[in-house]
């Protein structure tokens, strides 16, 4: 049972690592905006345009 004296502090250490990771995430702004990424995730599925046709860039030069 005395293995607890090693395992228990290890477990606490793991928790500390998790807390540090969380604090890092918050400080780098991962939680600043929780609404937009939820919407943005819908957009990334757009099929990749083939090289030849890229009407968007063509037209952008004519825009007002």
């Amino acid at each position: 049972m005395s293995v607890l004296f090693i395992v228990f502090p290890l477990a606490i250490l793991l928790a500390v690592v998790a807390v540090i990771a969380f604090i890092w995430a918050v400080r780098t702004g991962q939680y600043d905006d929780t609404d937009t990424p939820a919407m943005r995730i819908l957009h990334d599925d757009e099929p990749v345009r083939s090289e030849g046709d890229s009407p968007t860039t063509d037209r952008s030069s004519q825009n007002p």
């Binding site: 049972m1 918050v26 939680y31 609404d35 919407m39 819908l42 952008s60 825009n63």
Partner: protein, 819 residues
């Protein structure tokens, strides 16, 4: 009303096409039979064409068609001022790589498709490096290369997509808030980690209660719990201690005091017991309390922040540029900020007035509804005063500037709005009032328990008194209000009722006085033809002439009489402020005021005179139509009342509200509307924005809660002066900023939903408070009997909080009223 009205209403409803951009029905006059796409307004057309031009039609697939529809707004402004060095100084920051960054507030951004569209910008405009949208704040952070593209061009592209932009002024406050939010989250995270681990350790100790444990392990676990609990108390839990301290200083007990007492006493007692090696420890309950209460507090803060955000939207009432006329007659466009007293400014039809001043050349009609709330255009000529924010409707004029910016009437009104918003006293929430008594009772009870056990078994007296203080920690009470309110706000938002914070709910739940603005709130806020006496065959003639005229009444004629076969007039001549005449298909048509038409018709026939009198009785503006010098028709123009207004008002009165109406419109018109709606209470016409504020303030002083409902800039100051300001559908940005609640759905029925929902929410709050007090009664009784141990405390504490959470989320607060 007349038969004409019935047929009008019928024709505009029957299965007309919907706008291809926003999905709203297209007015009959605007339908183009041969066109591929139909549009409800020119804004939608511009935006639709721009989106197609850029090949971004996927926008329409992403857009949720069931989402509320808003016609697009295309301002057509050139945003030249964005390139001004002064602008750059204020809003633009430069990164080390030589790229510029700014934050823009975008109007009209509301859904996932908008995010997609805007974030495509780097592909559309060469030189835009990145644009990141934050939909919650309607903000976009833009990074671009100044060498390759100017900010004004980016803004014009955004404008063509339907998002007019404004510099975001709150960046500094925004940063402070962001940091505060992060601190909150870190506190919650740390408290959660401590609470979770202490709870795991406690499970082991609970086992020891039944089957025993070797003393060295027991000591290890107890010391570990103490360590974690101390971390939780000193780091995240400190907010309660400092809160309690300041509460003691101001001698107003609030929720922090009982929490701090329980935390301090519990931790000290637990620490003593850990060191002694005997006695109970309550660390699992204490850390859980810190964690749960921090969540409640965070929810509350988020509400308050969104309430304060709104003030930042107050800045875009006057046009961005003005056309200055120089001494040699040359016209030069310059930013409004650069206008000075004495400058001459040219105003074309459709321009809004950039500053206060005097009309010095020409005459025209103006839409002054922004300031006065009057729905009819006002004719002004040389020498008349013009106010910033009003709109020139018909012809080119010149004005002389007398005051600009903050000194204009609009500027002063906005200053009032900000002042009232700052001065508004905070509402003492129900839970805090309860907490006040709660502290006193718990402390007294603890003393009583100590005395009781001093007499029964002196060695256990302190332990039982402390157990009582810990288990009565008002965790559920602290969550009761924020949870109920955040849930109610979420539900309300789904019904198109947007709350800026939780405070209005308690005020709206109890009946008080509700003042309604007329134009735009009780009425549709635009001129419509509501009365017609005359032959149908002259309608095409009228349309042909009026199509050439840019006057609201002319447009109302066209809208009402629209036909497929349009005639072309051979000649159209406008007589300013009186009417219009023209030749169509060989016939002479005259449309205009009574004196104008009578001058060619002579005296009116009896039916004509009766029709005119009927119009005047109904407070409509009569307009006569003569064909070939003979009276052919009489039309009445007015601002029709919203369909459901009468029912809603009756229902609100039934709920105990006293309803009043206050309008900037002509008293006769205001009275006629009040009469039709059955408003018997206070009613006032011809009220200036300043007068509205006066009325609201006099009522606020009287003690009852005062709710002001309005839509325009002229109501903004009154909205912020009232206890609760409610802005209605289609309102100006300024009124949105000043209001506490915004109703997104048209009509007045949402007002009833709002009041009923608030009432039910207060009910939920009360129920939550009763439940949590009840739990505390049970735990206090157990503690008095000496039957509390850490296990029972650890079970009861989360159950009470959980039941409050469940009660809040299961409750139906805001829902559409069944009809």
């Amino acid at each position: 009303m007349s038969a004409g009205l019935g047929s009008l209403a019928g024709s505009s409803r029957a299965g007309h096409p919907c706008c291809d951009h926003c999905g709203l029905p297209v007015a009959p006059a605007l339908i183009e039979p041969n066109a591929e796409a139909q549009f409800c307004c020119s804004g939608c057309r511009v935006v639709y064409e721009a989106i197609h031009g850029y090949g971004l039609t996927r926008y329409y697939e992403l857009k949720d068609r069931d989402d509320e529809s808003v016609p697009a707004r295309f301002t057509g402004s050139d945003y030249r001022r964005y390139d001004d060095p002064a602008f750059r100084e204020l809003y633009v920051s430069r990164s080390s790589q030589g790229l510029d960054t700014t934050a823009l507030y975008l109007e009209g951004m509301h859904c996932a498709a908008c995010v997609w569209l805007i974030e495509k910008l780097p592909q559309l405009v060469d030189g835009v490096v990145e644009i990141r949208v934050e939909i919650g704040r309607q903000m976009a952070r833009l990074t671009w290369d100044r060498e390759r593209v100017e900010l004004s061009r980016i803004a014009r592209v955004l404008d063509s997509l339907g998002y007019s932009s404004h510099p975001y002024r709150g960046t500094r406050r925004e940063r402070i808030r962001r940091l505060e939010n992060r601190r909150h989250l870190i506190r919650i995270g740390v408290a959660g980690a401590c609470a979770g681990n202490v709870m795991l350790i406690a499970f082991a100790l609970y086992g020891a209660m039944f089957s025993g444990m070797q003393p060295e392990f027991r000591a290890l676990f107890r010391w570990a719990s103490l360590l974690l609990a101390l971390i939780a108390l000193v780091w995240p839990g400190r907010v309660f201690l400092t809160g309690a301290l300041s509460s003691m200083r101001t001698r107003v007990m609030h929720m922090d005091v009982p929490v701090a007492v329980a935390l301090l006493v519990g931790t000290l007692w637990g620490a003593t017991n850990t060191i002694r090696g005997v006695g109970e420890i309550y660390f699992e309950s204490l850390t859980a309390v810190i964690f749960l209460l921090l969540i409640g507090r965070w929810i509350q803060h988020r509400q308050q922040w969104s309430a304060h955000d709104a003030i930042e939207l107050l800045y875009r009432l006057t046009p961005a540029t003005a056309r200055q006329v120089e001494a040699d007659g040359a016209v030069r466009e310059l930013p409004v900020e650069a206008l000075e007293t004495g400058d001459r400014v040219e105003l074309r039809a459709g321009d809004s007035v950039p500053a206060d001043g005097v009309l010095v050349m020409g005459s025209s009609s103006f839409d002054t509804s922004l300031l006065t709330g009057e729905s009819r255009p006002v004719s002004l000529s040389e020498g008349d005063r013009l106010h910033a924010g009003t709109v020139n409707l018909s012809s080119r004029v010149e004005m002389k500037v007398e005051s600009t910016g903050d000194d204009t009437r609009v500027g002063r009104l906005m200053a009032l709005v900000e002042r009232f918003a700052r001065e508004r006293p905070p509402v003492v929430q129900l839970a805090d009032r309860v907490a006040h008594y709660f502290v006193l009772i718990v402390l007294a009870w603890a003393v009583a328990v100590a005395l009781l056990w001093l007499w029964l078994a002196p060695e256990r007296a302190v332990e039982h008194a402390i157990a009582l203080l810990i288990v009565t920690c008002p965790c559920a009470l602290g969550l009761a209000t924020p949870l109920a309110i955040v849930n109610a706000i979420g539900r309300a938002a789904r019904l198109g009722i947007l709350f800026k914070g939780g405070q209005p709910i308690e005020l709206l739940a109890r009946p008080g006085t509700m003042l309604l603005d007329k134009t735009g709130t009780l009425t549709e806020g635009r001129t419509r033809l509501v009365f017609w006496r005359g032959a149908d065959e002259i309608k095409p003639l009228v349309v042909a002439v009026e199509q050439q005229v840019a006057h609201p009444m002319a447009q109302a004629f066209v809208e009402a009489f629209a036909t497929a076969d349009s005639l072309r007039p051979d000649r159209v001549e406008q007589v300013h402020g009186r009417g219009v005449s023209g030749d169509v298909a060989g016939r002479r048509v005259q449309i205009g005021s009574c004196p104008y038409v009578s001058s060619s018709v002579g005296s009116l026939p009896t039916w004509g005179r009766q029709a005119v009198e009927e119009c005047i009785d109904k407070a409509l503006s009569p307009v006569l139509v003569a064909v070939d010098d003979r009276l052919a028709g009489v039309a009445g123009f007015g601002d029709p009342i919203v369909d459901d207004a009468r029912d809603s008002i009756a229902e609100l009165e039934q709920l105990g509200w006293s309803i009043g109406m206050i309008s900037g419109d002509h008293p006769a018109v205001a009275d006629a509307v009040a009469e039709q709606l059955g408003i018997d209470g206070r009613r006032e016409g011809a009220a200036s924005p300043e007068r509205k504020v006066e009325v609201v303030r006099s009522l606020v002083g009287a003690g009852e809660s005062v709710v002001m409902v309005g839509d325009g800039v002229n109501d903004a100051a009154a909205l912020s002066a009232a206890d609760v300001g409610v802005a209605v559908h289609g309102g100006a940005e300024a009124s949105l900023a000043a209001a506490d609640v915004y109703l997104r759905r048209p009509g007045t029925a949402p007002l009833v939903t709002l009041v009923r929902g608030s009432r039910r929410t207060l009910g939920v709050i009360r129920r939550n408070i009763v439940v949590s007090v009840l739990y505390n009664l049970i735990t206090a009784s157990l503690a008095t009997a000496g039957m509390i141990n850490p296990l029972i405390a650890a079970i009861l504490m989360p159950i009470s909080s959980l039941s409050v959470v469940l009660l809040s989320y299961r409750s139906r607060t805001f829902e559409t009223e069944g009809r």
